[in-house]
Structure formats: C-alpha cells, structure tokens
C-alpha cells in the first residue's frame, strides 16, 4: 500500500514538475512582459502550439513503441500540397482533406511495412521517407506555393470559438482521442509492451505487424491533420511546410517524459512538453531575447529533462 502511494506520488510529480515549471514561467512572464498574458498573445501562442502539438502526439505513439518517425515534417508538407492542389483543381473541401489525410496514412503505413516486413530500422526508414516525400512535394508543386484556396477553407483557422482559435479545439479533440487510445485501447496497451520488449510481446500473441502499422499510420495521419490545418492558417499550399517539425515533435515528447528506448511516455506529458517549449520561445520573443539564445535554452531543456528522468530511474533501481 505504502509503495503504491509512493508510486502515485512519484507519477504525479513527474508531470507535476512540468506543470510547476510552466506555472513559474507564466507568472514570471506575466510580471516582466505585460503583453504576455494579453488575449491576443495567448491566442497566438495557442495557435502556434496547436500545429506542432498535433504532430508531437503522433510522435508519442511511435516513441512509446520504441521507434522514431523522422518523416512527419515532410508528410505535413505532403498534406499541405495535396489538399491545396485538389481544392485548386475544383475538388470539394472535404474530399480534398480526406484524400490528403489518406495519402499521409498510406505513407505512414509504408513506413510500417518497411520497418516490420523489410526489417529496416525506424530511423533509416523514416529518414528515407522524409527525404523522398519532400521530393514528391517539390515535384508536385514545382517548388511553388499554391494560392487561391476556397474562402471557407482558409477562414477556418482564423475563426475563434469563445475567443480561442479553432485550431486549439482541434488539438484538444485530438488530445482526448489519443489519450483514450493510449490508455484504454488494446492496440494502445500492446504498443507499450511492444516498446518495452518486442520478443516478449510477440510470444505473448501480440500482433506485431498490426501494431507497427498502427503506430506509424497514426503518426502519418496526425502529421496530415497538422498539414491541412497549417494550409488553412497560411491560406496557401506550402511546399516547405513542416520542415524541421520532426525534431520539435521529438523534443516535446521527450521533455514530456517519453523514453526513446521505448515502453514509456504519456499524451499529457507530450502536451505539457509542447507547451513548455512554446512558452519559452514566445516569452523570450516578447522580452526581446535573441532567438538564437532561445534555441540554446530549448536545447539545454531537452537534455536536462532527460537527465533528470534518468536520475530518477537510477534511484528507483536501488
């Protein structure tokens, strides 16, 4: 009983620490940068975080399974260009979105096929996918932006509900869905076992193929959703959209406590991780701190949070 309590405390603290740090920074910024807590800034912050935050949720699935997905940034670009081209070509908004998402799921599952059936390590597979799919995007778009998208589509991301951007609500919906998937679905449960010990999972009758396709498919899907939202927000199909997002997504998941060796990670942790990074960047900008220095800070944050995590694990052992 005692140990259960200790454990619960420990788990709460793991995410509690993050919440605490975020609160401290928010309070600090509220004092030193009066514009920080204005509605306009919060709207902006939330709108920016939503898109990378959605990509990071997909990445969390992959990281829990012990893999990595470097292709999400490029898949985001695929969704942006494919949806924009279809709409420009006269296809309806919803069919266009649907097709672009399906393309991303398909590419994600191809990652899964190469990893599971081709036995290529996830890093290499998705590195290949990242490069190749960016190439596809450039080829399709002629490396040019696609403008002139239908008004109802481009205005979606500008709209607000209760004063908050619609993008934020999309993100919240996805947070809820992914939370339920990771904690309650059989596939979600299997994913943890898969990431913790692949051979034991296989010998326990877990369908390894299905689980692999599932995690990379989800990651592709959410990259696609982020791509569509970004296209709406920028009112253009942008061939370079999402470049570098894979690293932001990994950073959010890792700061949120996911382990790159697989088997652990939470949706809430990733959300908090994404928020923390966004607040540091946003607050830093408001304070007029050189953005290069902010990059250094985020880099240090990533490494330090993993270091703290490892120390906790080390203490847990003995």
């Amino acid at each position: 009983m005692n140990i259960l309590l200790q454990k619960l405390k420990k788990q709460r603290i793991a995410e509690g620490n993050l919440i605490l740090i975020i609160l401290v920074i928010i309070i600090f910024l509220a004092f030193v940068a009066p514009t920080f807590l204005t509605f306009g800034n919060i709207k902006n912050l939330v709108r920016q975080t939503s898109i990378t935050g959605i990509v990071a949720l997909g990445m969390t699935f992959v990281i829990i399974s012990g893999g990595i997905d470097l292709s999400v940034g490029s898949l985001l670009g695929v969704a942006s260009i494919v949806s924009a081209m279809l709409m420009k070509g006269g296809v309806g908004i919803f069919p266009a979105i649907l097709v672009s998402l399906l393309v991303c799921v398909f590419l994600g599952i191809i990652n899964g096929v190469v990893i599971h059936d081709g036995r290529v390590p996830p890093f290499i597979t998705t590195l290949g996918m990242m490069t190749a799919s960016r190439g596809i995007v450039m080829l399709l778009s002629g490396a040019r932006m696609i403008a002139g998208l239908p008004k109802p589509f481009t205005s979606f991301a500008q709209k607000t509900i209760l004063g908050l951007p619609t993008l934020f609500f999309v993100w919240v919906l996805i947070i809820i869905a992914t939370y339920v998937l990771t904690s309650r679905s059989v596939l979600g449960r299997n994913m943890f076992a898969y990431g913790s010990n692949l051979e034991a999972a296989r010998l326990s009758g877990i369908n390894i193929r299905k689980t692999t396709y599932f995690v990379y498919g989800i990651s592709g899907l959410l990259a696609g959703v982020a791509g569509v939202l970004m296209t709406s927000r920028l009112a253009n199909g942008i061939p370079t959209a999402g470049t570098g997002y894979e690293l932001d997504a990994i950073a959010a998941a890792v700061v949120g406590g996911a382990s790159l060796s697989g088997g652990s990670g939470t949706i809430i942790g990733t959300v908090l991780g994404a928020f923390l990074i966004a607040i540091i960047q946003n607050g830093g900008n408001l304070l007029g701190i050189n953005s290069f220095i902010l990059e250094i800070a985020v880099g240090v944050l990533i490494v330090v949070s993993v270091m703290i995590d490892q120390r906790k694990k080390g203490l847990g052992k003995s």
């Binding site: 913790s196 010990n197 326990s204 877990i206 088997g263 652990s264």
Partner: protein, 496 residues
C-alpha cells in the same frame, strides 16, 4: 591452506530504504579455496557480492584483503585489488571480437596505437589455456550461448585476478560444458585463486566447493566444510524448514490425447519429431543445450515456422503459423529466457499478466480497467506473487516471482497446453517448490504440460514420459517406470 584469508568480511551491515539487506554477515575466503555461497533469492547473496565488487557501499563492517583493511568504492578499485566477478548476465559487447572484449579498457599500446597482434596473441593463449576452442577474432554474436558464457569466464580469468566470484555460471551450460567449467575453476584453485561460487544447484556445490556459507534473510547462518553436510541439511538451513522431497508431485492417470506432433521438421534444426501428450500428462523433453529441444517447442507454439510435418490438437489437424495461432489453440509458452522473451520488464505486474489476453476484457476494443485489475489481483493471490502491488514494475521482482508472472499470464489467457522451457533456472528453492505445485495443479485440472529441463532430477522427478533429443532428432521416448540417469544421458549425448 594459508592462515590468512585472501578476503575477509566481518560484521557487514547494509540497508536499503525500508529493507535490511545484510545484517551482521561474515565471510572469509582463503587462497586456493572454492567457497560456496548459498541461500534463497533475497537472502542477500547479490548484495554481498555487489559490496565486495564495489557496486554498493556497506553501511558498517570491515573488509580486509590479505589481512589489511581496504575500501572498495567502485568497480575499478575492485579490479585493482585483483577482484573479479562472472555474473549471470553476459557482460560482453556482442558485435566485437573476443580479443576486443578481453582488453576493453586496457588495450596494450605500441607507439600510441593499439597493438592488435598482442591483443589476439594473448587472448588466444588464455583461451587455449582454458581449453576453449574458438578463434580469438570471432565475434561474440557468432558464438553459441554456452561458448559466450565460457568467454565471459575467460575474460574474468584473464585479468590476473586473485579472487573470482562465479554467480550462477552454469545456468546456460550443458552438462558437458559444466565439466569444462569445473576444470577451469579447479585450474584456478591450483594457482591459488580464492573463489566464491554461487549456485542454486546443490549438486554443484557438493561437486566443486570446499567450504560453504549459508545466508538466510540477510543473515549469516553457518559456514562449514562441504564434507560435513548433506544436500538436505543445506536446503533445510537455507529455507529454515526441511524439504523431504523436492520433486514430490502426485501424478494423475493421463486422459485422452491432447496434442500430437507428426514428423515435424525445420531444415537444419530438427527432423521427424513425432510425439503426443495427453490430458493430465507431463511430457519431458531432455537434451543438451543446442540439441534442438527449444526450437521444437518454439515451432509447436508458432514462434518459428516448421518446414514439414503436422500438428494435431484434440485429434484435429491445425495450422500454427504464429504465436497468435498457438495461443488461439490454447497454448501457453514460458520461454527459456524470461528477461528477454517472457516479460516486458519495464511494465507492471498487472500489464504483464493481462498481456496475452487483453482481447477478452474489451468492449468495442476498449479495455475494461476494473476487470484488468481484478484479473491481475486474482492471479497475484493465486500464484502468491510477492509484490507490494500489481502496479509494481516486473523488473523489481525476484526471479521466482517473475516466473510466476509469466505463468500467471498464461493462466489468465486460459491456456490448456503449457510449454515450460527451463521453468526454474535462476529460481530459488522455495519458489521452485511453488512452481512445481502449480504444475501439479495444472495436470490435476486436465491440462497437458510439455517440460524442457536440462536438470536431470527435475525432468525425471516431474515427467510422466521423457523424450530425449539429440542433434535435432527424437532418439527415444522413455516411460516413467524406466527412467534412469545413465540412460537419459547416453541417449542425449548420442552414445546409444
């Protein structure tokens, strides 16, 4: 024997938060002495050797080498004092060569660069000295598990150690290889090395040790010459109660045929394997390491795909192409290596118990969490798994309790055919007894059991019939009334 012990520990105390791990423990090991260290899991053996090796620090007590007090505050200090340990787990870099592993951290240099010819020459000498017939340049992954184990031992020997701890060194070895290992240990003894030998296998203690120290619940019980004790006496002192007959289980009259293999084969691994197992029956598979016995049951369960032959369940021919198929037909498989194949160590007891059967407690493919907890608690109680809660990570449990979690997983999945591959390796006497009791419960309720064990008393004590495997072939099936050690060994080594 010298008057001064090489290593002397007096009044050692060590506590971890909430647990007294060692309470006034003493140990003296003389040069040229092989000193057995026995006790159940949790008795404090591992803590003690970790203190000797500088992994943990003692709270109180004195440690002396050659009569002089020393402080060993890390592994490097231990090795400077000539202390070495061979642990259960391999401590080798799998993708490097034997030579590289031997000299890791202390490569001989010539003009500032690594002197490779010396590395391989010295490695070859050590290997030859110990009668291990492999090339010093071979990569570790290319060696069989048993040879890997020998290489681990050779690595410890090579470091000019004056004191070596062997922690369960025979877990992966066949009988023949155990003999080679014993020769190595005796060779070291002659050179005056002080040796501590830890094993759960009592007969090994009596074969090789001069003296034996018994620990129980972190306390020193007794140190006495091996010649003045017996197996039963030792076990009684370890567990604090007498165990008259370890393998005493009640056999049940077998019922109708449950499982039949016909000419099962996998190219280059095993051929023409045919046997059947009935309800209430324990079918033993005996063979040396590498004989193909594990591969046969893996193919039966669906973990590997056989190239030929058929499998019948309840008289009907079935296709088993994956573990999912095996589980679908009611099989449960407890693999040889529980840490690498049996358990998701980083996950909780609850998750591991439910692992193979989440599908049974779902609605619209969502897990019912109350049922998940209930099931885990049921099997925790039923199997007497010693864990504070079902949310404990499995890696924090002792070997015996980990093994019970694997069994719990299959009970939870409602298996009717249980395949046990070395179920008691690295498990202490008390937990062993409990595992045997569980196996007995299984056969009482009509399940069929296939048991692999390289430990003769175990496989002979439990099985109704034993099939002997030699080089991928089923040599003979012997009924219980005709069991004899010599017979089994003869068939297993291909002499019959």
């Amino acid at each position: 024997m010298d008057k001064t012990p090489f290593l002397e520990l007096k009044s050692i105390y060590k506590s971890f938060p909430g647990v007294k791990a060692l309470d006034n423990v003493q140990l003296s090991v003389y040069p040229g002495e092989i000193h057995g260290l026995v006790g159940e899991n949790g008795a404090g053996k591992s803590t003690l050797i970790k203190i000797i090796m500088g992994v943990y620090q003692k709270d109180r007590g004195v440690m002396a080498i050659n009569g002089e007090e020393v402080v060993i505050d890390d592994v490097i200090a231990a090795s400077r004092h000539g202390l070495a340990a061979v642990y259960q787990d391999l401590n080798l870099a799998l993708d490097l060569s034997i030579g590289e592993n031997f000299f890791m951290g202390s490569f001989p240099k010539k003009n500032g660069l690594i002197d490779w010819s010396t590395v391989y020459k010295k490695t070859a000498e050590t290997l030859e000295d110990l009668n291990i017939l492999v090339d010093a340049r071979s990569r570790i992954t290319d060696l069989s598990p048993a040879v890997q184990e020998m290489v681990t031992i050779a690595k410890a020997v090579h470091k000019e150690s004056r004191f070596i701890i062997f922690d369960e060194p025979t877990a992966l070895l066949s009988n023949e290889e155990v003999e080679i290992l014993f020769d190595i240990i005796r060779h070291l003894k002659k050179q005056g090395v002080a040796i501590v030998y830890i094993s759960h296998r009592m007969e090994e203690i009596f074969t090789i040790c001069d003296t034996v120290t018994i620990l129980k619940d972190g306390e020193w019980v007794e140190t006495l010459p091996v010649s003045e004790t017996t197996e039963n006496d030792l076990i009684a002192k370890m567990v604090g109660r007498s165990i008259s007959e370890m393998y005493d289980i009640e056999h049940v009259e077998p019922g109708k045929e449950k499982l039949r293999l016909e000419n099962l084969g996998r190219n280059g691994v095993f051929q023409n394997i045919s046997f059947s197992v009935r309800e209430h029956e324990i079918f033993g598979l005996f063979g040396l390491v590498g004989s193909g016995r594990t591969e046969i049951v893996r193919a039966l369960f669906g973990a590997d795909t056989p190239d030929s032959g058929d499998i019948y369940l309840d008289g009907r021919k079935v296709q088993i192409r994956s573990p999912q198929d095996g589980i679908h037909y009611g099989m449960g498989f407890l693999p040889e290596n529980r840490k690498e194949q049996g358990l998701a160590l980083g996950l909780s007891v609850k998750e591991n118990i439910n692992l193979s059967s989440y599908g049974n407690i779902t609605r619209f493919s969502f897990v019912n969490r109350t049922k998940e907890r209930d099931r885990a608690n049921t099997y925790k109680e039923k199997l007497r798994i010693k864990t504070p809660t079902i949310d404990q990570k499995v890696k924090n449990l002792s070997g015996g309790n980990q093994q019970k979690v694997v069994i719990g997983k299959w009970l939870c999945g409602k298996s009717r055919i249980f395949i046990f591959d070395e179920p008691t390796v690295g498990v202490d006497v008390g937990a062993k007894r409990e595992i045997y009791r569980l196996i007995q419960e299984l056969i009482e309720q009509g399940d069929a059991v296939v048991l692999i064990s390289s430990y003769l008393p175990e496989v002979m004590g439990l099985s109704d019939r034993i099939g002997v495997i030699h080089e991928g072939r089923l040599e003979i099936v012997i009924p219980r009334s005709e069991f004899s050690e010599e017979q089994l060994l003869k068939y297993a080594s291909g002499l019959e």
